[in-house]
């Protein structure tokens, strides 16, 4: 009898869960909130829970309460796979977001596709959506679009010979592939192809080599702190040709680290960091300013593009559920694919059966660093 009483709360919780299941919509999230990629996963989780509250405050989706089931994969592929299993088998979500990193997304996306549950990834690798799996989407822009933005600018300036210096990690090497391909395809000449390690602290050797070769501009592809070291080494050895950075350093932290050496550098960035400078008619402007204000009020600190990916992933799923008028996975998938000209933080999304990212080079804006701040470069 005693034992039976002990089980009673469990049974009650179970029953309550069953009773609630009818009027909630469950969406899963597998994010790297801790571990090496926590600088991506933490703002993503913050943003998603903030947006979840906002959606529920205005009455939920289709009159039902939205519930996001979070799992932290600790930037570990195995834990991401386990979390995906739990979301599919135990939580029975109707759609999911994640993973934070490209590696984790590639590891879990097959499971969602096989189960017929739509997954919106927050990672950037092109392999996630090309070729497009019917159930896999992503909100982060592809490297290719950033490269395209840089090359368009270089062409307008009349630069012919481009030198590249990339970091030897996943981000840098994916960028290097895209750069080499598009530089050749765009009729440019690759003047130098230098590489540095993610933990390297001095890149004067690579830059000195570039300096001695004829070139018109340098493109550097990496995430902090490497590019900041390169910016400083560039000033140090007196390399005066223009330098482009990747969208990987589009945060105030980069300017802080590079200091004076950041002046005049050019990079393609999402609209978020220059929201205040956008023209008034820009479709994202209000959203970006509101997001920045709300995030800073709630969590303090700077907003980042990565938090923006979190916003876009949930906002696209919510939009799909509302337009479909249904919370069935297949209906959500079909509606996701039909999303057109929908403004998000990362850009204006237009999905199609062949394009499950929905962004283009237009969603990047070319910015220069002037007096320690971003400035939109006139096109």
């Amino acid at each position: 009898m005693r034992r039976a009483i002990l089980f009673l709360p469990l049974v009650l919780v179970f029953l309550a869960g069953r009773a609630l299941a009818g009027d909630t919509i469950k969406i899963g999230a597998v994010l790297s909130v801790t571990g090496p990629a926590s600088f991506l996963g933490e703002p993503e989780k913050n943003t998603i829970s903030m947006l979840q509250e906002a959606i529920n405050a205005r009455g939920g989706l289709l009159g039902k309460k939205l519930e996001v089931v979070f799992y932290d994969d600790e930037t570990d592929v195995n834990k991401a796979v386990l979390a995906a299993e739990k979301l599919l088998k135990r939580d029975e979500v109707v759609a999911a977001m994640g993973g934070t990193t490209s590696g984790n997304t590639l590891a879990i996306m097959g499971k969602f596709a096989a189960a017929g549950i739509p997954l919106v990834s927050l990672a950037s690798a092109e392999k996630i959506t090309s070729p497009a799996d019917p159930f896999v989407f992503k909100v982060a822009p592809s490297d290719r679009h950033a490269v395209q933005k840089i090359l368009d600018h270089a062409r307008a300036k009349g630069y012919k010979k481009l030198a590249i210096v990339t970091v030897s990690d996943g981000f840098g090497q994916a960028g290097r592939e895209a750069l080499k391909e598009l530089i050749a395809a765009g009729g440019f000449e690759l003047a130098a192809d230098e590489v540095y390690g993610p933990k390297d602290t001095d890149m004067t050797a690579q830059l000195t080599k570039i300096k001695e070769l004829p070139h018109d501009a340098v493109i550097c592809w990496g995430t902090n702190p490497g590019p900041a070291v390169i910016a400083r080494n560039r000033v140090q050895i007196g390399l005066t040709t223009p330098m482009y950075m990747s969208h990987g350093v589009a945060s105030k932290k980069f300017i802080e680290l590079a200091g004076e050496a950041a002046e005049g550098l050019l990079l393609p960035a999402g609209q978020l960091i220059v929201a205040g400078q956008l023209p008034d008619g820009q479709p994202q402007k209000k959203l970006l300013l509101d997001y920045t204000r709300q995030y800073q009020e709630k969590f303090g600190g700077q907003v980042s593009t990565f938090g923006g990916h979190g916003y876009d992933s949930l906002s696209l799923i919510a939009r799909a559920i509302e337009t479909a008028g249904s919370d069935k996975p297949q209906a959500i998938r079909d509606a996701l694919e039909k999303i057109t000209a929908y403004p998000g933080v990362g850009g204006v999304f237009t999905m199609s059966p062949a394009d499950h990212n929905g962004l283009s080079a237009r969603d990047f804006v070319m910015v220069a660093i002037e007096k320690g701040d971003w400035k939109i470069v006139a096109e």
Partner: protein
């Protein structure tokens, strides 16, 4: 062309100084205790990170650096007292594993206390590069090279003139005999940890303006420093410093003239070849002398 070569050498020497100072720490501890201290890189990190933290807290630069080095020295002594001495009867390999544990622990604490961001320290004297025959030299590089030389000189005097230095050398030659003539081998071990922590911390602080610093810079520096110590001949402090400079210059020339993608591999290949040809390192004594 010549400007390029000179630039490679200058940046190689600057980075090499950091390797050298780390290698020096490895050597000092190895000599007195027979332990290879894999937490050496973390001492370098502590020097850099604490300088930045104290400077951000409002201290002026010299005071911040001096305090940071003093604090790192205390940490070094504490590591010996709390982690090494209680298990000193264990075999050398177990002690090495203890130091790996210490390094992970220090890194974790630094991450929790100061966060995961990369931080930078202002230059000691101006950021305008000086032109030298077509190459350019940062004033901070002069600081790095100068301070490294001063430390080497100081250590040479310490080991040849002071009673403590001689005591440490005695431990290096023959621990038991050192005991018998009344040298406290334990005190010497603690002193060696404190000294190598101080050396590492100075390296971390003078490099922070050039290379920036974060909680995990010690990993790479520890490895390269160890390689430099082996290159110079483990056990010889001046060989260690020279090994560091050679490793730095080789890396830089390799990146410049061969391929920057294989920069690290190149340095280690040269190290391997050297060890095949001359297993005791460039400046190492024949191992027969170190029975």
């Amino acid at each position: 062309m010549f400007g390029g070569l000179l630039q490679y050498v200058i940046s190689g020497l600057t980075v090499g100084s950091a390797y050298g100072l780390t290698a020096l720490g490895f050597t000092m501890i190895f000599n007195t205790t027979g332990v290879i201290n894999f937490a050496q890189g973390e001492f370098v990190m502590l020097g850099g990170m604490m300088s930045v933290m104290l400077h951000q807290a409002g201290l002026n630069l010299p005071a911040a650096v001096i305090l940071a080095v003093a604090a790192a020295t205390a940490v070094g002594a504490a590591v010996e007292r709390l982690a090494i001495r209680p298990v000193r009867r264990a075999t050398a390999i177990n002690l090495v594993i203890v130091t790996i544990g210490v390094s992970i622990c220090l890194r974790g604490l630094a991450m929790l206390a100061w966060g995961k961001d990369t931080l930078r320290l202002p230059n000691f004297s101006g950021a305008a590069p000086l032109p030298v025959f077509g190459a350019s030299l940062m004033p901070q590089s002069l600081w790095v090279l100068g301070v490294t030389l001063l430390i080497l000189l100081g250590l040479r005097l310490f080991f040849s003139r002071s009673i403590h230095g001689k005591g440490m050398l005695a431990c290096a030659y023959q621990r038991k005999a050192a005991y018998l003539v009344g040298i406290s081998v334990e005190r010497m071990a603690m002193l060696s940890f404190a000294l190598s922590a101080a050396t590492g911390a100075v390296g971390g602080a003078i490099l922070a303006p050039l290379t920036m610093t974060s909680y995990d810079v010690g990993v790479m520096l520890g490895l390269k420093g160890f390689a430099a110590a082996v290159l110079g001949g483990l056990g010889n402090p001046f060989g260690a410093a020279a090994g560091g400079l050679i490793l730095g210059v080789l890396e830089s020339l390799g990146a410049g003239y061969v391929s920057s993608a294989y920069k690290d591999a190149l340095a280690f290949i040269i190290l391997l070849v050297l060890l095949f040809v001359k297993p005791s390192g460039l400046f190492g004594r024949k191992s027969a002398e170190r029975v």
